[in-house]
């Protein structure tokens, strides 16, 4: 039984708020043809952030899902340098920033 977030295709309107909420592992992406979001099974660690964010409750975790912290850490280790090394990898950080802008998450 899958325990990742499930998208309700009837109600998802492709606003991408959940995409931004899923900031740690970036498991959500917009399907450009259908205008609904899709979730990568390999990346979703069932944290539930998207569920909280979605204004129309179009995305939800099954009630039995538990946050899979191991998965998160594995993904995190692959995609980001550890925190203390951040200063050293200035270039990388900038790239990250641009990516964030693409996702429009620069609200601060």
């Amino acid at each position: 039984m899958t325990s990742i977030a499930i998208v309700n295709h009837e109600r998802c309107v492709g606003c991408e708020l959940c995409t931004r909420a899923c900031g740690v592992t970036h498991a959500i992406s917009l399907n450009l043809d259908k205008n609904w979001v899709e979730i990568s099974e390999d990346l979703c660690w069932s944290c539930g952030a998207c569920e909280k964010m979605c204004p129309f409750s179009a995305i939800a975790l099954p009630f039995w899902a538990e946050p899979n912290k191991e998965l998160r850490d594995t993904i995190y280790a692959q995609t980001r340098k550890p925190k203390k090394a951040r200063v050293a990898v200035q270039n990388f950080e900038q790239e990250e920033d641009e990516e964030d802008v693409m996702a429009g998450s620069r609200s601060h």
Binding site: E10, R11, K34, P55, S57
Partner: protein, 603 residues
């Protein structure tokens, strides 16, 4: 109440004293109007001596006083909050610079999804008056209130009024006037009925604890509607059930007004239950029996609904006030996101997103009719299936007027023993309509659609799935269904509609004369024009031609260049033509086989 004065923007684009006072006094005027109706009705009630202190009077006041009090108290609260311009719009924020780069790029990636076919369109919100109006918190309330009053009188009239349906406000308004107006609104504007719907209005007022203000607390459990049951088909099945019950108990007509009253009160209670249990307007999506019909037929209308003017800007908007609500507005109750809307199917025209968007990025455009039916790239299978089911229900309504059907139905009832069950259920004596043949006729149409799609899929050598063909081409049935069902309502509306002159002056049949029109002898059937049949036939013809047009457009937009598309196009056109001819023949045959019926042709 918001205390800090500084929250109130000083630079509102609508701060001219005239507008400011209009904003303050319009709700006051509405509240006074409500009071006036209350006083007027109470006065007439007290004045009719034979009924005073009877159960009729008691029921009247038992419903009349609490509801009116509720509205007045709520109104006072909202008017007080509105007085200091608390919900005034501060003027649009500066456009996000990223919209022209990142936003445009992202919107460009979805060009195919957001395809918009060319043609003239006019955005109403370019006009300063409409912008001002849509920014008012009371914009929706102003049109809801009269309707709520009317339907409260319907409930009361059905319970206490005379049994003669043609002298009772409940039957006349609901079945002779409302049912006609409803379809005209759908075809003309879209979900305009939903904008003024009195059922959801009252449920929503309770849910929001206010009539038109924007409060912070909601009175609802706010549960999510389960994902599994998120489909339009629920509404369609409620529609089929209601149509059946309406025939079985002969509510519409003209039957006992009390049934009408119970039906209306039942819908309000059902709606209230949804509003208190689920979030937003879950009722409108998953409970309202009319949702499917209204949504589908709205596609004919020339209004596209409130929709983002510039999608690139939405792509960079992180706050999404349109969906989530703001200080000034609630988030969209209809689960719509103006930034990606591609059809007017689910926009209830509430204008909340218009108030919410800080960039004033919402418009309300008028364009050529029918566009909403073929333009959306995203077409839904459940909607297509719903259209075919409702087409089935329409054909049932046509067939049930023929003597052959009556004979068959009675025979089937007897053969299956249904007439005994019907007796126990206190329905029509003959057991009409027998559920089996009712459903049988209805399901013929999805079957027809599916068989045609299978055939078409075969023509394309299975290159195109039958499901896709069914989904896309059944949108083409919409105009025929919309105008066909309007045609079905016509005889009832046109022949009985004039009785409204009497009932507005004498709603309960007690011999009142509120507007001096009680003695205008506009009998039922006074307007029995023999040309109704020809109006009906021309409506069906217009609907059919519109359907052919939409089918042509769907072929062009969705299937051009795909294997077998030419032949499939011809097959789909023929299906529509056959449906249209069958419907016209049906209407003609009804007129022919009912001698003395107002539909009999003049030769």
């Amino acid at each position: 109440m918001a205390t800090p004065q500084r929250e109130i923007p000083r630079t509102s684009p609508y701060s001219k004293p005239f507008y400011k006072w209009l904003d303050r006094l319009a709700p006051v005027g509405l509240a006074l109007f409500m009071m006036a109706v209350f006083v007027d009705y109470s006065w007439w009630m007290i004045k009719s001596p034979q009924h005073l202190a009877s159960w009729r009077t008691l029921i009247f006041f038992a419903i009349w006083i609490p509801t009116t009090l509720f509205y007045i108290i709520m109104a006072i609260k909202d008017i007080a909050q509105n007085w200091n311009g608390r919900w005034e719009f501060a003027g649009p924020k500066a456009r996000n610079r990223l919209a022209d780069t990142v936003g445009a790029q992202k919107a460009g990636m979805q060009q195919d999804f957001f395809r918009s076919v060319t043609g003239k369109r006019y955005d109403l919100t370019q006009n300063a008056f409409f912008r001002w109006l849509f920014h008012r918190r009371w914009y929706q309330f102003a049109v809801q209130l009269p309707n709520v009053i009317i339907f409260n009188i319907v409930i009361i009239a059905g319970l206490v009024g005379v049994v003669n349906p043609n002298r009772n406000f409940a039957t006349v308004i609901t079945w002779y006037v409302w049912f006609g107006v409803l379809f005209v609104l759908m075809i003309g504007v879209g979900r305009a009925w939903c904008l003024i719907c009195p059922f959801s209005a009252q449920a929503e007022w309770v849910q929001r604890l206010g009539l038109f203000g924007k409060g912070k607390k909601l009175l609802t459990l706010g549960l999510k509607w389960p994902q599994k049951y998120s489909t339009l088909l629920i509404s369609v099945f409620f529609f089929l059930g209601l149509t059946w019950a309406e025939e079985f108990y002969n509510v519409a007509g003209p039957g006992k007004p009390a049934f009408t009253s119970m039906l209306v009160a039942g819908i309000i209670m059902w709606d209230l239950f949804y509003a208190l249990t689920f979030e937003r307007r879950s009722f409108c999506h998953y409970g309202c029996p009319l949702n499917g019909v209204i949504g589908v037929v709205s596609a004919v209308a020339p209004f596209e609904g409130f929709r983002a003017k510039d999608r690139s800007l939405c792509k960079t908007c992180t706050t999404k006030e349109c969906m989530r609500g703001s200080e000034r507005s609630y988030g969209c109750g209809w689960y719509e996101y103006p930034g990606s809307m591609s059809s007017n199917f689910y926009c209830g025209l509430t204008g909340e997103c218009f108030k919410g968007c800080p960039y004033e990025n919402i418009g309300l455009s008028v364009h050529a009719p029918l566009k909403e039916a073929y333009q959306p790239k995203k077409k839904r299978f459940d909607l297509a299936f719903g259209v075919t089911l409702m087409m089935g229900a329409l054909f049932f309504e046509i067939l049930n007027a023929t003597p052959q059907y009556a004979g068959f139905d009675t025979w089937l009832s007897h053969a299956t023993g249904w007439n005994i069950a019907a007796k126990a259920l206190d329905g029509q004596l003959s057991g009409y309509p027998m559920p089996l043949d009712y459903l049988g006729i209805i399901f013929l149409f999805p079957l027809l659609g599916w068989l045609v799609s299978l055939g078409a899929s075969w023509i394309s050598r299975k290159q195109i799935q039958a499901r896709e063909l069914f989904t896309r081409y059944c949108y083409g049935w919409i105009p025929l269904f919309g105008l066909g069902i309007l045609a079905r309502q016509l005889p009832k509306v046109l022949t009985n509609g004039p009785t409204i002159a009497q009932v507005i002056s004498d709603p309960f049949g007690f011999g009142w004369n509120m507007f001096g029109t009680a003695h205008m002898h506009m009998h039922a059937r006074a307007f029995a024009y023999h040309w109704i049949l020809f109006v009906q036939l021309s409506f069906v013809l217009i609907g059919g031609v519109a359907s052919l047009f939409v089918t042509q457009k769907i072929s062009q937009l969705d299937f051009q260049g795909r294997p077998g598309s030419g032949a499939i196009n011809i097959v789909m056109h023929s299906t529509i033509a056959i449906l249209m001819v069958a419907m016209m023949a049906g209407y003609y045959y009804i007129a022919l086989t009912n001698p003395g019926h107002p539909l009999v042709p003049p030769f």
